[in-house]
């Protein structure tokens, strides 16, 4: 039941706050490059607040699980299912958007590429996991 070294960081309570901060810095860099440093600073601020909220969010199982320090095998399973559900929601939304655009005679554009990417990545993931498993 002892986590291996690679799991120890993700099981630390600093994992998600650090991830939020890193993502905020990436937003800042992207906005800065795009000539909108103000929006970048706002995004960084939002991510810092989100990270702090998770870090100081108390000892509820949900917060600790999301944060990383309360993550065990059951929460990992919950996380996996939640991720699959979120992916399914995005996939359904993409299908709906692509269908609406096609029905209007419009080019699906980036939505079509995202839909194709999700399908290809799913098949690749199945192949890889089947090969490894």
């Amino acid at each position: 039941m002892t986590p291996n070294p690679s799991q120890q960081f993700t099981k630390s309570k600093w994992f998600l706050p650090a991830f939020c901060l890193a993502l905020g810095l990436v937003f800042l860099a992207a906005c800065w490059i795009g000539g909108h440093p103000g929006e970048g600073a706002y995004s960084l601020g939002v991510m810092v607040v989100a990270g702090l909220a998770v870090l100081l969010g108390g000892r509820s199982e949900t917060i600790r699980g999301l944060r990383g320090d309360g993550r065990d095998e059951r929460f990992a399973q919950i996380d996996l299912r939640a991720t699959a559900l979120a992916g399914l929601a995005v996939l359904v939304a993409l299908i709906v958007v692509v269908m609406i655009r096609l029905a209007r005679g419009e080019d699906p554009g980036g939505y079509g590429w995202l839909l194709a990417l999700s399908g290809v990545s799913y098949v690749l993931a199945v192949l890889l996991l089947r090969w490894r498993g």
């Binding site: 039941m1 986590p3 600790r64 699980g65 065990d72 095998e73 059951r74």
Partner: protein, 65 residues
Amino acid sequence: MKNTVRALRTKRSLAQGQLAEAMGVSRQTINSIENERYTPSLPLALALARYFGVTVEEMFDDTEP
């Protein structure tokens, strides 16, 4: 899955939190196992059985749906 985790735990006067700490899982996970809402992984089932000195078959009953 039906199991005797609660019976074995209370027999030893252990709190859910103490067992959870010994197993390296959350208290809620032990609670979910005891209430048959969560079926533990094989490593956790083995660790529980080893901790209580019983076999996995004695601890978990998969004969009932």
